[in-house]
């Protein structure tokens, strides 16, 4: 299995480190040609406006909108995956049927960390929120995995995982294992359809 990490800007090497710690291969993706040959894609934390502009400029947006790759977005990556963004006319990749609100916990002075329970996982996750978004609404086929103070901060659908915080800033492999399992299921499904 090969997991790509979109490497236009942000916490790229942290995600690569955690994927490798899970025993899988991780490669940075800087150009669209590199998307072929990966089985799942991570959209890292960073500045969502910056990533969005660079994705548009280099043709990632069009290709990823059509793509059936499993994707995992953290913070800025979650915003990129959302179908709707509060205050914007349209979402970017539109992969997850959710509405997100950007910087919804405030500015950097309000950024925080917290131990959070995650549905279906025994150990609590150390969640680092940095100028983080939260999920206002979820649509059909979207399961809520975690909340803080009543706000949804982690969700999944069949092929997409989106969280408001940064597991890549911790040593916890919880979410990366979770995503790798999703990719495995997807690979098996594609294989059986292919036969």
């Amino acid at each position: 299995m090969k997991i790509g990490v979109l490497a236009l800007q942000g916490a790229v090497r942290e995600h690569i480190r955690l994927v490798e710690a899970c025993g899988e291969e991780a490669i940075p993706i800087k150009r669209v040609e590199e998307l072929s040959g990966i089985d799942g894609l991570i959209l890292p934390g960073g500045e969502s406006t910056t990533m969005r502009r660079l994705m548009d400029r280099y043709g990632f947006t069009e290709i990823l909108r059509e793509s059936d790759l499993p994707m995992f977005g953290t913070c800025a990556g979650l915003i990129l995956l959302a179908r709707n963004i509060e205050g914007y006319e349209e979402g970017h990749l539109g992969k997850l049927d959710i509405t997100v609100e950007r910087n919804s916990f405030g500015r950097q002075v309000d950024s925080f960390e917290e131990e959070l329970p995650v549905a279906g996982i025994e150990e609590k996750a150390l969640a680092v929120f940095i100028r983080a978004p939260h999920i206002r609404e979820t649509g059909e086929g979207v399961e809520t995995l975690s909340k803080t103070a009543g706000r949804i901060v982690a969700v999944r659908s069949d092929r997409h995982l989106g969280i408001s915080f940064h597991p890549e800033l911790t040593d916890s492999l919880v979410f990366h294992r979770f995503f790798i399992d999703m990719v495995k299921v997807d690979m098996d499904n594609k294989l059986s359809v292919g036969m």
């Binding site: 790229v12 400029r57 950007r102 500015r107 950097q108 002075v109 925080f112 960390e113 100028r131």
Partner: protein, 294 residues
């Protein structure tokens, strides 16, 4: 329980800026140009460094009205500078909700002996450094991010290159040093022992280190990435150039794709003239901003 202002939260904010460009802006209009070009943050100030040089006199923290105007204009993080050691300027910016403070040698120092004790604040700080001693002292005081000092406002990359190479070289030496050599190394650099020990253990600086001070072209930005910078600050380089919009975009792209020389060549074409440069040797020791900081 939600904990704000932790080391992880402050350093993490800088990690998210990696691979990006932070641009100096003096008003809302420039901030919007920076954001549209793909900048990861803006530094709000009254004058860019090259104008500070020309104006002379005492350079202080920016008028809060300009900072507020910039904060309202863009959704990317907003940074602002304070004078070295100016506790109150820093507390005021923190109270305003600025995202990051640069305790900067570009402004006239308020204290010629002590820097701010930065781990007391909820807001993260970035500081300049020329070598491992300065880098480790600033980290020891609580800086969550570093940048080279370079020589601000000159459009001359030579000092930023010197400082990036120096810090990275010294970090490499520490990583292969034996434990019994480390204390003397700390003494020789005037560096906190614990920070050097941490560098040796993790094999790199514990915070990100951006390039700053003299970046004037897309090639300059890419060069600094090549030399191991985590990202780039552009001060006078963007808005003192002939075509700021194009320059800003080109510098952002060159930073992302710093080893794609064909692309950088394409970007550099039709950019117009870069800011006017200054030879470092024409600056007296007193005129060199990099000499500030202790």
């Amino acid at each position: 329980m939600q904990q704000t202002g932790t080391e992880r939260v402050k350093r993490g904010m800088a990690e998210m800026q990696k691979g990006g460009v932070i641009m100096d802006v003096v008003n809302a209009e420039q901030a919007k140009v920076a954001e549209a070009s793909g900048a990861v943050a803006v530094m709000a100030l009254e004058r860019v460094p090259s104008d500070i040089r020309t104006a002379g006199g005492v350079a202080r923290a920016c008028d809060p009205r300009i900072i507020e105007e910039v904060m309202e204009a863009v959704s990317i993080p907003v940074m602002a500078k304070v004078r070295i050691g100016h506790i109150t300027e820093a507390r005021v910016l923190e109270a305003m909700g600025v995202d990051y403070i640069d305790e900067s040698e570009v402004l006239t120092p308020a204290d010629e002996v002590f820097h701010l004790k930065k781990d007391d604040y909820t807001i993260p700080f970035v500081c300049g450094c020329r070598d491992i001693g300065e880098a480790a002292r600033r980290i020891g005081e609580g800086a969550a991010m570093l940048r080279t000092k370079g020589e601000p406002g000159t459009g001359n990359i030579v000092e930023a290159v010197r400082h990036m190479r120096m810090v990275n070289n010294q970090v490499r030496q520490i990583t292969v040093m034996s434990d019994d050599e480390l204390m003397t190394e700390a003494k020789n650099h005037g560096a906190p022992y614990d920070i050097l020990k941490e560098i040796k253990e993790i094999g790199k600086l514990p915070v990100v280190n951006f390039a700053a001070g003299g970046v004037a072209t897309p090639q300059d930005a890419a060069l600094m990435m090549e030399l191991g910078a985590d990202g780039v600050f552009v001060g006078s380089g963007v808005f003192k150039s002939e075509n700021p919009e194009k320059f800003a975009k080109a510098i952002v792209e060159a930073t992302t794709h710093y080893q794609d020389y064909e692309l950088i060549g394409k970007l550099a074409k039709e950019l117009g003239t870069a800011m006017k440069g200054l030879d470092i040797n024409q600056l007296s020791l007193e005129e060199r901003m990099q000499e500030r900081g202790w």
